[in-house]
Symmetry: C2
Subunit: 307 residues, 2 copies
DNA sequence: CTATACTCTTGTAAATACGCACAGAACACG
DNA sequence: CGTGTTCTGTGCGTATTTACAAGAGTATAG
């Protein structure tokens, strides 16, 4: 009963017309001129067409067609509807074509997110992708917070750490980021070489994220006394700056660290210091050609040595 | 089974998208952001909305929304649909407003038809109507053939003769058109006065319609020998011209005939010569304000004396 | 950290719309 | 002038769609 009341309420006060399918039916009737022809074109029965027209006319309170034995001829209102519905049909046809074709074409916006710490190692490869696919507008978002794919915030998230296991996410292994200990040559000259049996004699630079899920942090907590932690930086970039300024010893990705001028590598990359990097996409978007395109590019193009 | 085959056939080869109601549902979902909100706005159940979205996505072969616990967020395809559907909604709202308001307003085209023979007596009153209602574009169509209201050829037909009894037509008596015999004064001077007991001595001018349903034609056939029919004209205008040229005696409407210079009225108007004139409208259009407007005008404004 | 409120999802029964078949009427053709 | 075809209109049985209700998950408030 409440439903009944609500329904009449809507049909009375609704200014726009609901029942777009009925408009479509009336459109075909106005186009063809007969109920039978429209029914055949629509793939439905004549009776359905007649009922749609009757319902639409009742709701609009105005006759759309004049009935006679040869068929239905549109009144002024019917012709008006014909014009509007024709435009709508064209727009919907174009829309369907765009949406159906969108799966195959690689255009539009492509949003990739990662933590800022991964930015340096990804930018080169992403830039090459943007150059190879000028049709796409590449947006690379970096933030400390984790972007949520299920909210449509990005097409592709590049994450580090343990394998993400959120539902509806498609996860692929990207590469293993090896870390090693680095320090500036000025620091070594001043403090001496690194002795793993006397770590407390050195000064360490670490990142100070609330949840230090970096794998080498666990090693740090176990093997380096707190007194040796000389510098805590909230951002990864600050850590690098601190190391390069000679503030102490710190973990850096192996390859780019070894290329930075003035820095010396103090150890090999150990497996327990390595962090896995994952390519994460939402299941709804994973199948699209655009997402597949950048996934294929990254997996082929990315060279850890160039890091 | 054949129906099943036809249905898949259509959904495969149809380039435009059928199911406009589903597009409307998706539009509201994209607008509100949640299935529940869209369902409330549409006045349907949540489940219906979900099924519409699923069906639409299946038909388009592309995801329109990303589902998550907070609701539905539109993908690129969904946003594209949102834009198109918004335009459609606006257009349909305007259309509904136009159609609903059309019944009350007196604008647009107003088509009146009659036989050419009635043109002279109607033009003056019709012109006054057009002057009083500048919003309407008055089209006055005259042809020997009978315009068919059920085909939407005219809003109002003015017909003479016996009362029309076609179904779906609303018939009102307009006026009684009285006919009398006229001749040019030159003819009378040459042939002498009219003697009803010796009609064969005169020359008559008649109209030669295939079905001479004019009431005085029956009188002519009974009382005037064929030999006295000197002139047959297919068009009423030609009959007038012939009488004014002195070709013979003929029937003319009483009032205008008596006003034509050079013409003399040879008899009184007899009831058996009178023709009824009817206002005929289609039942679908009869109730509209526009049709009622001209009906009211004609019945009040028309002055048989001014004929 | 628990509770609450909101969301989507899925299965089942009712309601609605649909297709079918027949009737009625008008037009075209021979 | 009769016949055949094509169109609309309507009652009825079925099938699709819909609403209802229960379930599970997640964000927000206290």
């Amino acid at each position: 009963m409440l439903d009944r009341e609500q329904k009449t309420h809507r049909s009375n006060r609704m200014n726009g017309l609901d029942g777009w399918d009925e408009v479509r039916t009336a459109y075909h009737v106005a186009l063809v001129g007969t109920v039978s022809g429209a029914a055949e074109a629509l793939g439905v029965h004549h009776a359905t067409v007649i009922r749609h027209i009757d319902a639409l006319e009742a709701r609009l309170g105005s006759k759309l067609f004049q009935r006679h034995a040869r068929g239905y001829t549109a009144t002024e209102a019917g012709n008006d509807l014909l014009q509007v519905a024709k435009a709508t049909d064209d727009q919907f046809t174009q829309l369907a074509g765009r949406i159906k074709g969108r799966g195959e074409e690689v255009t539009g916006e492509l949003i990739v997110t990662s933590l800022p710490s991964l930015s340096a190692s990804l930018t080169a490869s992403l830039a090459r992708y943007g150059h190879a696919n000028p049709e796409v507008v590449l947006r690379f978002l970096t933030d400390e917070r984790v972007f949520r794919l299920e909210y449509g915030e990005a097409h592709l998230a590049i994450r580090a750490g343990k394998r993400p296991d959120e539902p509806d996410n498609v996860v692929q292994k990207f590469f293993e980021m090896e870390h090693a200990l680095f320090a500036h040559e000025d620091y070594i000259a001043r403090m001496g070489a690194l002795d793993f049996d006397n770590l407390g004699a050195h000064r360490f630079v670490v990142d100070d994220n609330r949840d230090s899920r970096a794998p080498y942090n666990a090693w740090l907590r176990q093997n380096v006394p707190d007194s040796a932690i000389a510098y805590r930086a909230s951002a990864q970039l600050s850590v690098i700056d601190a190391i390069r300024a000679g503030a102490g010893i710190g973990f850096l990705p192996k390859r780019p660290g070894s290329r930075m001028p003035g820095l010396v590598q103090l150890s090999d990359a150990r497996p327990e210091w390595a962090a896995s990097v994952w390519l994460v996409t939402h299941v709804d978007l994973h199948r699209t050609a655009k997402v597949q395109s950048i996934l294929k590019h990254l997996k082929e193009d990315y060279d850890p040595g160039a890091f």
